[in-house]
């Protein structure tokens, strides 16, 4: 297992786009909480009308709200990591190195595994980074730490991991089907609006089906949290049925990747 990961990392770590995308991604993760606070401060300085309410006291980055808030926002950045995955796999097709890897003695399953391990590493790395960022931000901005449970709502962190991992495996599948990087990135970007457009046309009585579309299912892991700040009911937990649906898709995606590679001539 480590050997397969080592092989794939050797291909990636010397590739410039890999670092550029990862560094951009890291900077964005780091800068979001900072800019949110700066924005709230700015609101305060400008004396925005909040009916006498101090915007700094909106608990966006306070424990326990922070976990759902930041994981929700950060899932929008997963496209960066998905692009890394798409480039890494489409390169293997355009350089024909997937073919040479197999000639040299990898099996098709080995190849899939080596890519999946990289995806696993990327999602674990990102999850860890988000966890640390959340923890530090929460500690810095929560007014009184003694009254709060830091790890309340922490289940959004593993949910974030599952979200990322499944999304990247989906990107893997798209790349195996489409082979060219630009096209795959384009389709991946278009896919979400397409899925939402389709779901808008489903008759009312069948509307629940949309929740089982792949990207709907992934997005259902972490629900939109900010509505609670205008006093609406939100789902502030990770629904187990969403996890179940996503896991099912994960298996399906990996099976489809395997089937496609097994039956195609490289």
């Amino acid at each position: 297992m480590l050997r397969l990961l080592r092989i794939d990392l050797k291909k990636l770590t010397n590739y410039r786009a890999f670092w550029v995308l990862n560094i951009m991604y890291g900077l964005l993760i780091f800068s979001i909480p900072v800019s949110v606070m700066e924005f709230l401060k700015w609101l305060k300085v400008k004396g925005a009308e909040f009916e006498g309410f101090d915007p700094m006291r909106i608990p966006v980055l306070h424990f326990p709200d922070i976990w759902q808030n930041i994981t929700y926002v950060y899932t929008f950045l997963k496209i960066f990591l998905a692009i890394v995955v798409i480039i890494s796999i489409s390169n293997e097709y355009s350089y024909k190195t997937i073919r040479q890897n197999i000639i040299d003695g990898m099996s098709r399953v080995d190849f899939i595994k080596s890519k999946l391990f990289t995806i696993l590493l990327l999602s674990l790395g990102s999850t860890l980074f988000v966890f640390i960022t959340g923890l530090l931000t929460g500690i810095i901005y929560t007014p009184d730490l003694s009254f709060t449970d830091i790890f309340m709502g922490i289940e959004f962190v593993p949910a974030y991991f599952l979200d990322l991992f499944t999304y990247m495996v989906f990107a893997f599948l798209l790349t195996v089907l489409l082979k060219r990087s630009a096209l795959t990135i384009f389709i991946l970007l278009l896919y979400t609006p397409i899925e939402y457009a389709i779901s808008a046309y489903i008759p009312e009585s069948f509307a629940f089906i949309a929740e089982y579309f792949p990207l709907h299912a992934i997005n259902n892991l972490i629900e939109f949290p900010f509505a609670k700040y205008w006093f609406q009911e939100i789902q502030d937990f990770v629904s187990m049925s969403a996890v179940g649906v996503v896991l099912l898709y994960l298996v399906l995606f990996i099976y489809a990747i395997h089937y496609k590679l097994k039956t195609s001539d490289l």
Partner: protein
């Protein structure tokens, strides 16, 4: 001699096209085996199937008497069509990946790079290499695991004469070490120069398989030139000549089997004719190849 590769009734269809048709072959240890055929005759498809990158339609094959699989492939050094490497990585990094896949020791990397004379350029990116250097790197890569079998597909394709000579020298050198080599080529001359055995494919069908030596045997033709005016008459009366053809001042004499140019020379001398030009025409692989192709067209 044991069998390295055995193919039985291998067939591959691409839609309605049959790329390989009921191919059966055997390659013995130590052979330098040439697969000859015009472009599109199924050479690369066959090698692709043998290396598991192309799915066969039917038939079987075995390497070293074992069914195909990734462990078998680790013992084979192979290049199909063009040299394939990560263009943004150096030769060393590329070979590290290959070594990791094949489970070959990293110490071999420097050795094989020296062997193909790329050691000086080992830290340069693959994309900066000339075509000849790329071909040599792929041979280095194929040698990395100290393979029992090497598969080379058109290894001199696109090279200049010097590059071709270098690669051929390298192949001969490797063959001398006792390795089995399978070489696909559409260049007959190349196969004749380096191979011990060969087969001929056309549109996926096997036309011929045998040793290169056998081709060089058989009836001889001799080119003769002489000042003496009665030459043609004398040649035609030679009882060991089956055919005499005049061709721009030269006579091409086809001799019966077992008779050689020296016999002809002795005969002419005994008749008082001295020759100014005497040349044995080897029946080249090219002729044999074209004959085979022509036969298959008539069939």
């Amino acid at each position: 001699m044991d069998t390295v590769l055995k193919i039985d009734n291998l067939t591959k269809h691409y839609g309605r096209i049959t790329a390989v048709k009921n191919l059966s072959l055997e390659v013995k240890r130590g052979n330098v085996f040439g697969i000859l055929g015009p472009n599109g005759s199924g050479k690369t498809t066959t090698l692709g199937i043998l290396l598991d990158v192309i799915n066969k339609t039917s038939g079987t094959f075995s390497w070293f008497g074992q069914p195909p699989g990734k462990e078998v492939r680790k013992k084979i050094g192979a290049i199909l069509e063009t040299p394939i490497f990560y263009p943004y990585l150096s030769a060393v990094k590329n070979l590290e990946i290959v070594a990791e896949i094949k489970g070959a020791p990293k110490e071999n990397i420097d050795l094989v790079l020296q062997k193909v004379e790329l050691y000086e350029r080992r830290f340069d990116k693959f994309r900066t290499y000339s075509l000849g250097m790329k071909q040599r790197l792929s041979i280095a890569s194929a040698l990395l695991c100290d393979p029992e079998v090497m598969i080379l597909d058109e290894p001199t394709n696109g090279l200049d004469p010097q590059g071709i000579a270098e690669i051929r020298e390298l192949i001969k050198q490797i063959a001398k070490e006792g390795k089995t080599i399978i070489l696909a080529s559409h260049l007959l001359d190349e196969v004749q120069k380096v191979c011990t055995h060969f087969c001929v494919l056309k549109r996926g069908t096997l036309l011929y398989t045998g040793s290169v030596e056998d081709v060089n045997k058989g009836v001889e033709s001799v080119e003769v030139m002489s000042e003496a005016p009665e030459t043609q008459e004398v040649l035609e009366t030679y009882n060991k000549a089956t055919k005499v053809v005049e061709d721009s001042g030269k006579f091409v004499v086809t001799l019966v089997e077992g008779t050689h140019a020296s016999d002809l020379n002795a005969y002419l001398f005994s008749k008082g004719i001295t020759v100014s030009h005497l040349l044995t025409q080897r029946k080249s692989l090219e002729k044999q190849f074209l004959e085979l192709l022509a036969e298959s067209d008539n069939a």
